[in-house]
Symmetry: C2
Subunit: 325 residues, 2 copies
Amino acid sequence: MANIRHIAKLAGVSVSTVSRVLNGHPYVREEKRLAVEQAMNSLNYARNMNAVHLLRGRTDMIGVMLPSINHPYFSKLVEGISDEALQAGCRLVLCQTGYAEEEERNALHMVKEKQIDGLILCSKALGWDEIVPYAAFGSIVACGEDAGGLLPSVFIDHYASFRAGIRHVMSKGHTRIGLALSRYASHSSDQRRQAYWDAITEIGEQHREDWTFYDCYGIEDGAQVVRQLHGMAERPTAMLVTGDQVAAGMIAEAAKLGIRVPDDLAILGFDNQPIAHVLGITTIDNQLHEMGREAFRMLQVSLLGEEPPVSRVEIPFALVERTTV
Amino acid sequence: MANIRHIAKLAGVSVSTVSRVLNGHPYVREEKRLAVEQAMNSLNYARNMNAVHLLRGRTDMIGVMLPSINHPYFSKLVEGISDEALQAGCRLVLCQTGYAEEEERNALHMVKEKQIDGLILCSKALGWDEIVPYAAFGSIVACGEDAGGLLPSVFIDHYASFRAGIRHVMSKGHTRIGLALSRYASHSSDQRRQAYWDAITEIGEQHREDWTFYDCYGIEDGAQVVRQLHGMAERPTAMLVTGDQVAAGMIAEAAKLGIRVPDDLAILGFDNQPIAHVLGITTIDNQLHEMGREAFRMLQVSLLGEEPPVSRVEIPFALVERTTV
DNA sequence: GTAAATTATGAAACGCTTTTCATGTCAAGC
DNA sequence: GCTTGACATGAAAAGCGTTTCATAATTTAC
């Protein structure tokens, strides 16, 4: 493999000159520039970026931590991040963790080891206390959840969005309301539970633990929820469902079981994914694409160094009324 | 930032010894090992992987080239690749190209510049002639399409799968059949067109250019197709649709327009995505997850060097009969 | 015509770790 | 008591491009 020294020798110049040509610096005589370019061509030269990275102390790559890329929530988010990164000449390294803490640590370690300049956390299992120290080695930003002033964050106010969702559901006359959430132990689930409890309490109802389902991510999980509901003596008349995929699964299963949506069971989804569009699911749009873009922008300013008091950007949400509530 | 020399000095040993500790080599006296470990802790040391990469000439990262991650076809594929990569201790660098040739070249360039050890091509616009030379600098494997012996490939026999699809559609009595494809100029579209033409010719029908739609990727594209069909005097009674997202869009739009599926219009999807499950779309399962895994495995053996005569693995497909044909 | 400013170029240092080679110590074996 | 082999350790080179510093060659300015 040709290196810069080979080129220098072949072109009859010093490595400095080759480097200057490589980087488009001025102060290289046309005649030498040509000689260098010719040498590079004839040896089919490409510089070794690892040397550049070592020298610069920067790789122009950032990591994206998420449990799984094969979920529309995350792939939409990543697309947003990627779009913005592309413009900045920055590459994305996928860190699929499946919420395994060791994998999350590995991803964080990459910034300490300078493999990546920063990391965007799309969802995580680790506590902030274990994450924050890594911010000393690169920029780490939270995306989709507020890191509470510990790290720059782009997020949705899950409490408010859930309240808005419940308000809408209640406006249709529902008082018996259930929930399908993702992980039990996550900040967003906390907020959502709280919003649910507060709203339910306000109308003088009891919140029902048996109407609260966890670990709902995909279509199959939604189907499972409906099956369980079907077997209950007392059932909710409406469900708030985090993720349109899950809502879609519920709708499909409901159809099989002869449960009419929204008459027997109203369903409110979240994220406004394409599937919600097709199935006419009433949902809350979280502008995931924009959130991803903003996360990257935030990381970028954080990379520049002089950080102001840890920025926090809230992405607005919007109810998209269709036919399932 | 602490480096290995600082550690050596603080621990009172040579850098060689520190390196040995770092890499778990034997032949380090317990006492020195402890001193080194203590020094590393107190300086909060982590090695600079860029130096390691430079030295090794390898980064344990590979690129994944695709037009957009926000499409279930690709995110499923990437998940498969990622699962296998994780086991091999290899990271994935996302190369979203949007089919822009310059972006594709950039991705290829990364392997020449040793930023990545290899590249998996999930879909591309560039011709093989421009791609193949880069295989000299790292492993490049084609995933989803056969590179015709030029590169290791994992692929589906699109001709056969389309023939199987058409056979199924015809078995339900359809003779007036249309097509919704993705890019006009792609190997898979060529194969599919050919399968369609051959099948249509066999039953003595004419293939209809006006029933062939291109650039169909998402739900909205499917809706568009149905709208166009709706305005036609002569319509097909069945459509073969590459991608369940597109099929889903068609079904949703058909419902709006009062077109009954499958009675007025039969729809056969491809890929067996979750959305096909929910909507009961008859589809052809291409085992994308497995295809991704196989692609990585292939890249890995190719990385080992002694390549046998360019491996080619065909992934079998299977008809999943549901309710839309 | 000379001082000052530009333009050009190369040597050497730097960034950081791994690996090879040489050297040295110590215990086992005969 | 001396040779082997195993165990330990450090110096130095290698991997490769960028940048600083010093020097040299030209121009420009007055």
